[in-house]
């Protein structure tokens, strides 16, 4: 099979992977052990495979891995910092926003993208931000409450403290160190 190299930054670490041109980012991330990226529909409809690419939530089932060249990817594995949970992760636990947990990584990442840009959202804005993440367990009330609670912490800590770590690392541009 024809392969190519892709260089990207995942959770603050530079990576160089051999991929096939048609490989989806979802499949490559899972193959590389980022199991927090979940497969739910492979059609960009459920949001379980959400990752942040340069800070923006995308469905990794709709993006070729090759398109991640030179980008910064944040998966759920990179949200926890130095063994300390992100306020969103803490809030999801504290508010009972996790049931089966399959949609949780995608929801937390969508919420994180929102809060980094906009740490003082209304409930409607939170619901808007989560609208691309289907959850079949919770009815969304507790996840929405959790995001609003985490937003209060984000506002106290300030946007920089709450930003994805990947943002602080020098961006890689396609080449090995």
């Amino acid at each position: 099979m024809k392969t190519m190299q892709v260089c990207l930054n995942v959770n603050g670490e530079s990576k160089e992977w051999s991929i096939a041109p048609g490989d989806l980012l979802l499949d490559v991330l899972r193959r590389e052990g980022y199991f927090g990226v979940k497969r739910g529909c492979e059609a960009g409809e459920c949001g379980s495979c959400t990752v942040l690419v340069n800070g923006k939530p995308i469905n990794s089932c709709l993006m070729f891995a090759a398109q991640a060249e030179g980008r910064e990817v944040l998966t759920i594995e990179g949200v926890e910092q130095g063994g300390k949970l992100d306020p969103l992760q803490e809030a999801f636990l504290e508010y009972g926003a996790v049931q089966c947990g399959y949609c949780t990584p995608g929801m937390i990442l969508s919420a994180k993208a929102l809060l980094v840009k906009h740490p003082d959202p209304t409930e409607a804005e939170v619901r808007d931000a989560l609208a691309g993440n289907f959850c079949r367990c919770t009815g969304y009330l507790k996840p929405v409450e959790a995001v609003l609670a985490a937003a209060r912490i984000y506002r106290q800590v300030g946007p920089s403290g709450a930003r994805p770590r990947a943002k602080h690392r020098s961006a890689l541009h396609g080449k090995k160190r």
Binding site: C41, L93, Q99, C100, G101, A131
Partner: protein, 777 residues
Amino acid sequence: MNANRSVVGKNLRKLDGFKLVTGRPAFTDDIHIPGLLYGKILPSPHAHARIKRIDTRKAKDLRGVHAVLTYKDVPRVPHTTAGQSWPEPSPYDTYLLDSKMRFVGDRVAAVAAESRAIAEEALRLIEVEYEILPSILEIEQAMADGAPVIHDEPDSTGIHDAQTNLAGYILREIGNVEDGFRESDLVVEREFRTQRQQHCPLEPHITISWLDSDDRLVIRSSTQVPYHTRRQVAMILQISVQRVHVVKPRIGGGFGGKQEMLLEDICGALVLATRRPVKIEYTREEEFYMARSRHPQILNIKMGVKRDGTLMANKMTVLATTGAYGSHANTVQGNTGSKVLPLYRTPNMRFECHVVYTNTPVAGAFRGYGCPQGFFAQESVIDEIAQELGMDPVELRKKNMIRLGDIDDLSAQLGEGRKGLPRHVRSCGLPECLERGAAAIEWAVKRQTLPQTTGHLRRGVGVACSMQGSGIAGVDWASALLKLNEDGSFNLQVGAADLGTGADTVLGQIAAETLGVTLDKMIVCSGDTDFTPFDVGAYASSTTIISGGAVKKASEKVRDHLLRIASKMLDIPVDNLTCRDNQVVTKCECEKSVSMEDLAHYAMYKEKVQVMENASHWNTDSPPPFCAQFAEVEVDTETGQIRVVHLVTAVDLGVAINPMQAEGQSEGAVAQSLGYALTEEMVLDASGRVINPSFLDYKMLSAKDMPKLTTILVETEEPLGPYGAKSVSEIPINAPAPAVANAIYHAIGVRFRRLPIRPEDVLPALREKELPSPQRS
């Protein structure tokens, strides 16, 4: 309920929450296995057909293909895929692979290949010649004269009457309904139709299987029923139970759809054929037509009342389809009678149901298990009767509802596919549910002030009630094993299958409460047939009450043992000791204590004894939880759009072991039910193919679509439940749909008797009613 409790009744974090919020590998697919093959199933393109010729040579010759299996290659063992206690009350009408196809999506063949792409290519290379048979898609056609026979094979068993496509038939009567109708002042008879709803767990069905170094078949699977699956797979593959090891990791939701042995048999067959590890995972599209769905029903309900609102007779006649196979056919439909009709005291009750085969996707267990259909019909008619009598719908319900101390004999007649046990109401918070729910939605005010007419928008409020069970009386049972470790922590091993419901946490709380330790001392392992003792699995709202009962018993035995050891250590009589705050302490004022850790060290290294106990538990009754649900809706008379504004759930769940989790169960059930009421339907075309097998075309509610939710936990003390608990996971899915339908009636004066209630149904109904529309300029 009890202020002295330190773990039970607390909003503690989920034990498995940390790994879920951090994305740690926890689910079936979160594992890399060297040499893994990808399994794929070739689905039938025809609703009803016989394989005349099947040629797999080209597929087998494809590089990277390791096995291609057809009906010729596997044992023919009639079975049911329903994950139920042996002997299953569902017909044995299913085969690992068969030469006859009974729905679009039925298994034609299965392949295992080195990649998914190769497996998919191999499916395309299988040449099949079909003899296409006339098919039955409509539920009413199934029993017509001359209808094609779907199960004409001679070896299936347990089918009520295969020649008339009758999978199951139920008739039960208490009193005489015809007498009851004669004694009634008002008789209302109506017909209702409900649709095919899909579970849509975010994690599709997935199984990974391999042979371990002892040549045993390991099945790592997204299942609610590890033990039933082990038994069924062994039978189907004709190997001993001893050779099968089923492992349930974290599950990405099930809702009944995984109370089914669905992929494990074919995956195991491919493993045995290739001697390589194999994974089969449904795509979302396959999930829609190859997994299970809620049974569609046509319900005729006839109720008779006295002028003062006293119910005299309740007759429900149901025609349901189980699709091509009879998985859960008898039991789901039995529930439609046994859990719905007895909600109201009625001297004369009759329930009759025909469950027919059709050439459509297979129905199965789905949260609510027959109740959402039944309550939609019954609660709509109750509302209509209230309207006719000029009574408040809440008052009519209060007048007739089942009460504390009642014995419901219908459930005795309608057990798990066979004669059951009478249901005694030992706890009942339904009156309080109605009162607190009504207050939360401002019922009294809104019934007076609505329907409010603001331009083209009309608002209304509606109510509906329901009951459920807590485990299957006399059938469900569970066991638990509890072991003390030297640091004072405990291994709690349960066969119960947490599928995302929080069962591990709730069971851990029951054990921790009983042992006087904090929840963080519990290491819970669930759903592994080698390492945890038997449990029927996660279904029938049984885990908290049945598995929890086993956990409580095992914990009490361990506690007794701990006290005996502490008694020796402290030289204090056992009856003066108790477990509290991670230690054994004296009850008297002498205030001696020993920590669990010191006690464990003493037991292990001085006494040389492993403190470890197990216990089993079952109930002779299925204590019903109760629920009252209120909806406020807004109907747009220009577009027919229905918006639910507020949905109140007041649920009597016994004692809430973890109130936060209990609320979450309720809120999730409500979201599924609002989809059932308004948007969700699997639609088949004229050939029996599902035309909307995606989340784009099958509309579940998103965070943006949800109304304001209010959840009220009405706690009662259930004598048969651990710490007074009943159940909560299913019941709140029953009544939102009728509450919404009743609210729509309140808003616009139109009754809808078919689900889902869509804008395209509302608009013509409004035109027919000639509701004055606002003036346009």
